[in-house]
């Protein structure tokens, strides 16, 4: 009786495996996108439009930018890579996982102070972050570009020492840093202005004085070397950068044009590299 049950189960398993295989063969043209979790809401909307218009199936795999890069490297798959920040494009190109110079800018990211809803500690400027007893979080400057940008702002404003004394934890990713504020674990974080749009009920946005922002970041999109069809990859990038794609990103709180980003930081440089100052490492000790 039991052995018969097992046999039936095996039969079902085999049949399902075989049918799955047949379905795969009949599948329409499809592309796989490795997408940073932060871009999930706008990208899901863009992909829905893309699938409808181009009749191409899009598989979206979400995760942290670095994790996705590892998954791509190990699986040797992917038509599009869309991390949260440009530093992953640099890593990807260095590892020869991305087609060089295939990256484009999808949206701009402007640094801002983000507080839990209601701004319980009354933070209104960078100086307020140095007040005794204020609990601050930043992205880990050595692994998350958000942290690096935060340290640069603090260094250039001469507030590095004061704020670092109040930093109680580092976020392991942009999203994790945002969650620290959303869960009221800290009084403020140094984040991107878009964090506020991710969760407007739980997060508040305090702008940083425009002249104090030396650099703005951006969400890039690039083509992996594993792409089965680079024309199709390019067609997808063009679709994301089309007025419709930009409009969707804007709707989700991103700054999709340089002019708009420059309103928050007129003198800021876009992207580029910044090396952590020795003072930062001294403060860590």
């Amino acid at each position: 009786m039991r052995s018969r049950g097992v046999l039936v189960f095996l039969l079902i398993a085999t049949v399902s495996f075989l049918t799955c295989q047949r379905n795969e063969k009949n599948m329409p043209e499809s592309i796989t996108i490795f997408c940073g979790s932060a871009s999930k809401p706008p990208m899901e909307e863009i992909v829905a439009h893309f699938e409808r218009e181009k009749k191409i199936k899009v598989n979206m795999i979400f995760g942290g930018s670095g994790t996705l890069l590892s998954q791509m490297e190990l699986s040797k798959q992917g038509e599009i890579y869309l991390p949260g920040s440009p530093d992953y494009i640099i890593i990807g190109e260095r590892k020869k996982l991305l087609i060089e110079k295939s990256d484009r800018i999808v949206a701009y990211l402007v640094p801002a102070i983000i507080t839990p809803a209601g701004n319980p500690a009354g933070i209104h400027s960078l100086e307020d972050l140095t007040r005794p007893g204020v609990r601050v979080a930043i992205g880990n400057p050595e692994t998350v570009c958000l942290g690096l940008y935060g340290i640069e702002i603090l260094e250039k404003s001469g507030l590095l020492k004061g704020v670092m004394e109040n930093v109680v934890t580092f976020g392991a990713s942009c999203e994790e840093t945002a969650t620290l504020a959303a869960l009221n674990k800290v009084d403020a974080i140094l984040g991107w202005s878009v964090f506020h749009s991710w969760n407007p009920e739980r997060l508040e946005f305090v702008p940083i004085a425009p002249e104090r922002i030396p650099r703005i970041s951006y969400v890039p999109i690039s083509i992996p070397v594993f792409t089965k069809d680079s024309d199709l990859s390019q067609a997808f990038i063009d679709f994301v950068l089309s007025p419709l794609g930009r409009e969707i990103y804007q709707k989700h709180g991103y700054l999709s044009s340089l002019e708009k980003a420059k309103e928050f930081a007129p003198q800021a440089q876009v992207g580029g590299e910044y090396t952590l100052p020795a003072e930062y490492f001294d403060l860590l000790r």
């Binding site: 039991r2 052995s3 097992v6 189960f9 398993a13 495996f17 799955c20 295989q21 379905n23 795969e24 796989t32 979790s37 932060a38 999930k40 809401p41 899901e44 598989n59 979206m60 795999i61 979400f62 995760g63 942290g64 590892s70 998954q71 190990l74 699986s75 040797k76 798959q77 990713s173 999203e175 945002a178 969650t179 959303a182 869960l183 964090f195 991710w198 969760n199 009920e201 739980r202 997060l203």
Partner: protein, 259 residues
């Protein structure tokens, strides 16, 4: 002295129960404060529940089916290299699921991996990948549990059956399996519970694709990753509900003591 010991044991149990209840309670309070507007779409919730149930059941059944002969072998026979086999099969229990997932991802890049994908269709970033990942995470546990269940059966019953004319297959199917029945069910439920909560290996091999490879733990991760706490809380509540359901059922069938 006896009284002090009694107070100590009851106190420890009460404290721990209180802590767990507080954990669940604080989450429910947090959930109550969230606006219902931000809750995930019901289609996404049902998809995650259905996928989790289907994959965990398939992975656990396959794991149990594979573990049966292995556990029986390990519980009844001694052979050269048994310690080595035992240690190797224990590996999935101690190995971090993310390491297991990465190893599977690498495996599918080898010629053998390619051949398997050619024969059975793709596993990487597919639902079949979830089942495979969960299978490897739970199979060690499944072997361990079944081995204990078999070891609890007196070998004399089997010897007696042999003297009465049963062959080894008959002994296994008609004596050992029925006697280990409750142990088998308990093992299945524990293995199933472990599979339904599996995240690390699943997300590494099958990826986090909404409405495709989105099991409940993946949904929790995706919600957290986009700072969408209310959705995460809804999924956590569902996972707690399912987990408590399994444990309650285990108590009902009264087999926990056998393990």
């Amino acid at each position: 002295m006896n009284r002090l010991f009694g107070i100590f044991t009851v106190g420890a149990a009460s404290l721990l129960c209180f802590f767990f209840l507080f954990l669940i309670g604080s989450m429910i309070v947090e959930l109550g404060q969230e606006s219902a507007l931000k809750a995930p779409r019901s289609s996404e919730i049902f998809f995650a529940i259905r996928l989790s149930l289907v994959t965990a059941t398939a992975a656990s059944l396959i794991a149990l089916f594979v573990s049966l002969p292995v556990a029986y072998l390990l519980s009844r026979y001694t052979f050269f290299g048994k310690d080595l086999v035992d240690t190797l099969l224990d590996l999935p229990i101690v190995l971090s699921p993310i390491a297991l997932g990465a190893m599977l991802l690498i495996f599918f890049n080898t010629p053998l991996g390619h051949e398997i994908e050619r024969l059975f269709g793709p596993f990487v970033f597919e639902v079949k990948g979830i089942i495979l990942a969960q299978f490897f995470v739970v199979v060690g546990l499944s072997i361990r549990l079944l081995k204990s269940a078999f070891e609890a059966i007196d070998v004399e019953y089997e010897n007696l059956a042999r003297t009465l004319g049963y062959n080894q297959v008959q002994v296994f199917l008609r004596v050992v399996l029925p006697m280990a029945g409750k142990g088998l069910l308990a093992s299945f439920l524990l293995v199933w519970g472990r599979a339904i909560g599996e995240f690390g290996a699943t997300v590494t091999l099958a990826g986090a694709t909404p409405l495709k490879t989105e099991t409940i733990p993946v949904a929790i991760n995706l919600s957290f990753a986009s700072a969408d706490i209310s959705s995460a809380l809804v999924f956590i509540t569902i996972l707690i509900g399912i987990s408590l359901g399994i444990l309650f059922f285990l108590r009902k069938v009264d087999v926990f003591g056998r393990l």
